[in-house]
């Protein structure tokens, strides 16, 4: 393996408190090192921005929803078509790229790790197969538990020990990284044609509430000491007046003690923008971003990602089946719906977030308001909930908005967004501008910390040589006045280096490598797992239409695993 030295870059490495320091970054055999020999290949990056490679903590990039989305949106697939070249296969799709295109596009932006945030256990095999087809980025799948019949039963009965053993077993069975909760009890209610409204509204039949499910899963998560906290998509997504549900969701686990040294939070709130609305209907809706941000600013057990609207025609896809039906009723566009037996549901609806319309303009404003009001960049991550609020290729544009109050104001003044963006939100009063170190935090270091990654998101010796270089001199550019240059540079990395290999050079993919799959293997819970499986199996056999032997993910579905081993304390 080669030795390299990135010479004279201006380094932003928040985890190591390096905020724009001119220094060399050295790597060898795929790892960051403190020294290299005189044989090292010199990459001159004088006065260019150097950061760890990007980490996306919440996206939908692999699995059956993507395939259904591609099949049922051929009009999206024909956009974003790029011809093949000597290195890359063809690309297609705008909001739902093909698998290879997904890897190329993240890589071009300087990203190296992406979370697939919603893996139904029953569809885990399919998800892993798609992960295999995505090159150049590592993928962290989160299995869904918030509407799982076993989980709801354990939560109802308060059987936390058994739940912890169940989670431990199911992470192995599905090869998943952590616990994802979507509209807890609400998607189960959707099986009965309904929804729940808030965390204290019980699901039919199980008669268990979202509060009970969230608390039980959080307790199990801490009992196991998983590297990531519970990852929550609260009830009431997208409804005016939903911010109290969001705050109640965050507060209901406040007393649960953290049992992990690799992260700070006990709950991660995802796509917070969709969960930060005040008012009672779309007629009188107002931003609840100030209230949600205020809660986050006062509570360190919470982190979030935003789900920023990018003002595009995109595709919504989520396990929140009833919400997707609401969207279809709202915009009249085509709708796909699916029940995942005993586990969850799913819905897909195209959505046009146009700046010419008041509601998307309002949502755009809410997202930016959250970014600007949450004080600690370590508690917030940049996402679009790809593709739900917009495609991930817009991350550089969001960065340009965060770094330029002038550009945000221009969009409001020029009617690129409607008046709701500032009359119904506090965005017009916020002149904060993110600096490069804060951008490096919300796109890299914070996500790595939130996920408990011990090998990436930092330029620490021994860590993976996952590095991005951008063709920007932070001493020359004024991001406030040059938003287009910021967007251009962050969208086309000068170098993307992954595991010490140069995958992108001057915005072009020059090398294609297979992805790795990140999952968590809990050790020390084997006896408890065995006992739980014996109890679970009769119910499994009775209600699932597949045999257990066909349900669990065999090793060949993860040919390139990166396994995080956790020693459970019990």
């Amino acid at each position: 393996m080669m030795e390299y030295i990135l010479k004279n870059g201006i380094v932003y490495d928040p985890a190591n408190n390096i905020a724009g320091e001119k220094k060399d970054v050295m790597f060898k055999d795929g790892k960051i090192v403190e020294n290299v020999s005189s044989d090292a290949k010199v990459l001159d990056v004088t006065d260019k921005i150097v950061m760890p490679a990007g980490i996306d903590p919440h996206a939908h990039v692999a699995g059956p929803k993507l395939v259904v989305g591609r099949i049922y949106r051929p009009e999206d697939s024909r956009k974003g078509v790029v011809s093949p070249n000597e290195v890359c296969r063809p690309e297609s799709g705008f909001s739902i790229p093909s698998c290879p295109a997904t890897g190329y596009r993240y890589s071009r932006m300087g990203y190296g790790t992406v979370t697939e945030a919603a893996m139904p256990p029953l569809e885990a095999k399919h998800t892993h197969e798609e992960i295999m087809a995505i090159p150049n980025i590592d993928i962290t799948p989160l299995p869904l538990f918030g509407n799982n019949w076993f989980v709801m039963q354990y939560a109802k009965e308060g059987q936390i020990d058994e739940l912890a053993a169940f989670i431990s077993a199911w992470l192995k069975i599905t090869k998943g990284y952590g616990i994802k909760i979507v509209n807890p009890c609400g998607t189960e209610a959707w099986g009965w044609g309904g929804n729940v409204h808030g965390i204290d509204d019980p699901a039919p039949y199980f008669d268990v509430t979202g509060r009970e499910v969230i608390r039980a899963l959080s307790q199990a998560n801490e009992m196991l000491g998983l590297p990531h906290s519970i990852h929550v998509h609260p009830n009431d997504l997208g409804h005016p007046g939903n911010f109290p549900t969001t705050v109640n969701t965050l507060d209901c686990v406040k007393d649960i003690e953290k049992n992990s040294s690799v992260r700070n939070q006990t709950i991660h709130l995802t796509h917070a923008q969709f969960h930060s609305y005040a008012g009672t209907s779309w007629r009188d809706v107002e931003s609840g971003a100030e209230q949600v941000a205020d809660y986050i600013n006062k509570n360190k057990h919470v982190t979030c990602d935003i789900g920023q609207i990018t003002l595009d025609e995109t595709t919504t896809m989520t396990a929140d089946g009833p919400m997707e039906f609401d969207l279809h009723q709202l915009n009249g566009l085509k709708w796909a719906n699916k029940d995942i037996e005993l586990e969850t549901g799913s819905g897909i609806v195209p959505f046009i977030y146009s700046g010419k319309a008041p509601v998307p303009s309002f949502q755009w404003g809410v997202g930016l308001e959250l970014f600007l009001r949450i004080k600690d960049p370590w508690q917030v991550c940049l996402t679009t909930d790809h593709p739900n609020a917009g495609p991930f290729i817009r991350y550089p544009r969001i960065i340009s908005w965060l770094m330029s109050a002038e550009r945000r104001q221009e969009m409001m003044d020029n009617l690129e967004v409607r008046v709701w963006s500032y009359k119904r939100t506090g965005l017009g009063t916020l002149d904060r501008e993110y600096d490069f170190n804060e951008i490096a935090t919300i796109t890299r270091a914070a996500a790595a910390k939130i996920y408990g990654y011990q090998d990436r998101g930092e330029l620490t010796p021994g860590y993976n040589a996952d590095i991005a270089v951008y063709d920007l001199n932070p001493n020359d550019i004024d991001p406030s006045k040059e938003p287009a240059a910021i967007e251009q540079a962050f969208g086309n990395a000068m170098y993307t280096i992954k595991d010490g290999q140069i995958l992108v050079k001057d915005g072009e993919v020059v090398k294609v490598v297979p992805s790795h799959t990140l999952w968590t293997n809990v050790q020390g819970f084997e006896e408890q797992e065995k006992a739980v499986m014996e109890k679970v199996m009769p119910t499994f056999r009775r209600f699932y239409t597949v045999k257990f032997e066909n349900y669990q993910v065999q090793d060949h579905f993860t040919p390139n695993p990166l396994i995080t081993t956790v020693q459970a304390s019990k």
Partner: protein
């Protein structure tokens, strides 16, 4: 004025694609440029001269000064006039799929039949087909809810299924007969069919108007009888005679107009 004449000399089993040969792109071309051009055939390219004899006369300062004449059976030439914005194309023979797709201006005349998707997603211009066409004339791209949004299609022969699917503007005139589901999902625009219609025009129609001068085989239940109108004016156009007017499709709270020639459709009275 520049006249470009391409005379077919060999018909390919695999369709040629002509989306790069539109007046907007070739108005500066001379004969040598066409002779050098390699036309897409499947996933490869072959010299245009393998398939057509080429003649170029005159000069053009812009695409509006171009007339392109395709002589021969172009039944295996796809995307004729696709995305064209100005100029004229005359096909003396048949045309394959997607003729006039995504046109924004200019005129195409097909002196023969046209395959499916003729005039798909038209935004402007005029497409005239002297013969018949098949499914999805004047429709949307597969899966899209936004179809033809402007321009005019004139069909002297018969139309196939789902004529004007997702129509959101423009006009379609069919002098012959039409198969099922004309105007399905349409939200704006006008369709006139002078021949007979098999069944179910205007299914899931939200707005716009469909006028049928021939006999309608079967009316959708979502259309509610309004009244008999005489000599109606519809979208600024005058029609003489008695028409049965319906509103629908109620299945989607539609407010579109469906007009049936009363003489030919007595069974509905």
């Amino acid at each position: 004025m520049k006249t470009i004449t391409l005379t077919l000399k060999k018909k390919s089993q695999i369709a040629l694609e002509f989306d790069e040969l539109i007046p907007d792109k070739v108005f500066t071309w001379e004969k040598a440029d066409f002779e050098n051009y390699q036309v897409p055939v499947g996933n490869r390219r072959f010299p245009l001269t393998d398939y057509f004899d080429i003649e170029v006369e005159g000069t053009a300062a812009g695409p509006e000064e171009v007339k392109m004449i395709l002589e021969g059976d172009c039944g295996r030439v796809k995307y004729i006039g696709c995305k064209m914005g100005a100029g004229e194309i005359i096909v003396n023979g048949d045309a394959d799929l997607h003729c006039g797709a995504e046109m924004t201006g200019g005129k195409i005349t097909v002196n023969g039949d046209a395959e499916s998707y003729a005039g798909r997603e038209m935004k402007g211009g005029e497409l005239e087909i002297m013969g018949n066409t098949r499914e999805f004339c004047g429709c949307s791209y597969i899966g899209d809810w936004r179809g033809m949004s402007g321009g005019k299609i004139i069909l002297h022969g018969n139309a196939g299924k789902q004529l004007g699917e997702c129509l959101s503007g423009g006009e379609i005139y069919v002098e012959g007969d039409c198969d099922i589901l004309a105007g399905i999902h349409m939200s704006k625009g006008f369709i006139q069919i002078d021949g007979d219609v098999t069944r179910w025009p205007g299914g899931q129609m939200k707005n716009g108007n469909v006028l049928i001068n021939g006999e309608l085989g079967m009316l959708l239940e979502g259309f509610v009888y309004d009244e008999i109108v005489r000599d109606p004016v519809i979208d600024g156009k005058s029609f003489s005679g008695k028409y049965i007017k319906y509103t629908g499709d109620l299945a989607v709270n539609g407010k579109g107009g469906l007009y049936l020639n009363a003489e030919k459709n007595r069974k509905y009275l």
